[in-house]
């Protein structure tokens, strides 16, 4: 089985203290739509962080499904705008997001 570079969890960012400077400087944290968070796999500090925020661990497939659902909602909202809507001329259609393993 191939090694995974990332692990995923779902947690709602409550604000101050959710990600600290210490967290951010010790390992990479990336947020995605649907309150999905990506951190390095097999990383002690990342595991501590997930536990600390009460993150619900997800497989990459499960995380991808959550992100894709949110992207599709945003794309549908964009597509529903009239073609001449001022907003539609300024915003690009939300891009698909593919989560790496």
């Amino acid at each position: 089985m191939a090694n995974k570079n990332y692990q995923y969890c779902v947690a709602e960012c409550w604000g101050k203290g959710f990600i600290t400077n210490n967290d951010s400087s010790q390992f990479s944290i990336s947020g995605f739509p649907g309150n999905v968070w990506q951190v390095p796999a097999n990383n002690r500090n990342a595991n501590i962080w997930i536990n600390g925020i009460a993150g619900v661990r997800k497989t990459v497939q499960e995380a991808q499904a959550i992100v894709t659902e949110q992207v599709q909602i945003a794309q549908a909202a964009y597509d529903a705008l009239p073609a001449d809507d001022f907003r539609k001329t300024q915003f690009s259609r939300p891009n698909d997001i593919v989560l790496p393993e």
């Binding site: 960012c13 400077n21 400087s25 947020g31 097999n42 945003a74 001329t89 939300p94």
Partner: protein, 324 residues
């Protein structure tokens, strides 16, 4: 395999308590905690701040990381007039803008803020200016050119506004200078663009990034009368957050066609890529300095309330060596 002794010619200090004032590069083993530790310069980092009360995008920002101001913006179906004040931990409601608008510029401080330009749903581009005193907004002088997606910098009584679009999607290049009551023409940007960033002061200003017909990376520096070329950004983008001065600027987030989390620092000559934001987003608000920046709200796939605080790579910290 080389040992620490072979490389450095000495052994790791074994101590029962962490040294009170370690220097950069110092390493020691603490027998009490049974941890191997070292002193290092912390890399730049983004940390989460308090969530805003109103999710929105394309808002104005002013102030500092611990005394920030976010105002205006857009949340479907219309422009917003809400103001929120940040104290370094939490956002609280301030006085509302008289004119709801998005794509405006913020300048100044939390208690002496300035908002100008922008676009109001159903009314179009704005040339009006509003001044904030820490609790309420009052009308200031009108700009010569009504526009949206412009950039600016400076203070409530000495501000600079430049670029933007007066008729979307055609960019404009006029610069205007504000003295606390009246806007007058300054030197034009060399590259007309909208969705750009601004930093600095009225006489030592900085313009960077944005869109002409494509995303651009070029930087221009203002001396109070004319713009000259500076170093190019590494990531061409628009609708990003910004902070700092002409020689210590910060750019973060925005769109390159897709949302980006990329962060860059400017030193007066060139841009250097720094630690990325945790969440890629565009149309966010920003304020602060290069070493203590603040990014808030914006769009991921939906409007966000999230705040992120940037700390530049300046603070030495003690770290523990772990096997991971």
């Amino acid at each position: 395999m080389s040992t620490y002794y072979q490389i450095f010619g000495g052994k790791v200090n074994v101590v029962s308590a962490d040294p009170s004032n370690p220097i950069e590069g110092q390493i020691w083993y603490n027998t009490t905690t049974e941890l191997l530790k070292y002193r290092a310069i912390a890399p730049a980092a983004w940390a989460s701040g308090g969530n805003m009360g109103t999710a929105r995008n394309e808002l104005g920002g002013a102030g500092t990381q611990t005394a920030g101001l976010g105002f205006g913006g857009y949340a479907a179906p219309s422009s917003k007039n809400n103001t929120e004040e940040y104290d370094g931990s939490a956002w609280t409601a301030g006085g509302n803008l008289a004119i709801a608008r998005y794509g405006l510029v913020g300048a100044g401080t939390q208690t002496a803020g300035l908002g100008f330009g922008g676009y109001t749903t159903g009314s179009g581009n704005r040339n009006s200016t509003e001044e904030y005193d820490g609790s309420a907004w009052t009308a200031g002088g009108n700009m010569g050119t009504a526009r949206v997606y412009l950039a600016g910098c400076g203070t409530q009584t000495s501000a600079l506004g430049f670029g933007g679009t007066a008729s979307f999607p055609t960019p404009v290049n006029p610069t205007e200078e504000y003295d606390g009551s009246t806007w007058t023409a300054g030197g034009n940007l060399n590259t007309a663009r909208y969705g750009l960033g601004g930093a600095g002061t009225q006489t030592v200003g900085l313009a960077f990034g944005g869109t002409t017909t494509t995303f651009v990376s070029n930087t221009e520096e203002y001396d109070g009368s004319a713009w000259t070329a500076g170093g190019n950004m590494n990531t061409a983008r628009r609708q990003f957050g910004e902070a700092g001065t002409q020689t210590l600027a910060l750019a973060f987030g925005g769109t390159t066609g897709a949302n980006t989390a990329a962060t860059e620092e400017y030193n007066g000559t060139s841009w250097t890529t720094s630690t990325s934001m945790t969440t890629a987003r565009k149309y966010l608000g920003g304020c602060g300095t290069q070493t203590a920046g603040l990014g808030f709200a914006g769009i991921t796939t939906a409007n966000s309330v999230a705040t992120e605080e940037y700390t530049g790579a300046i603070t030495p910290v003690t770290r523990t060596v772990t096997a991971s």
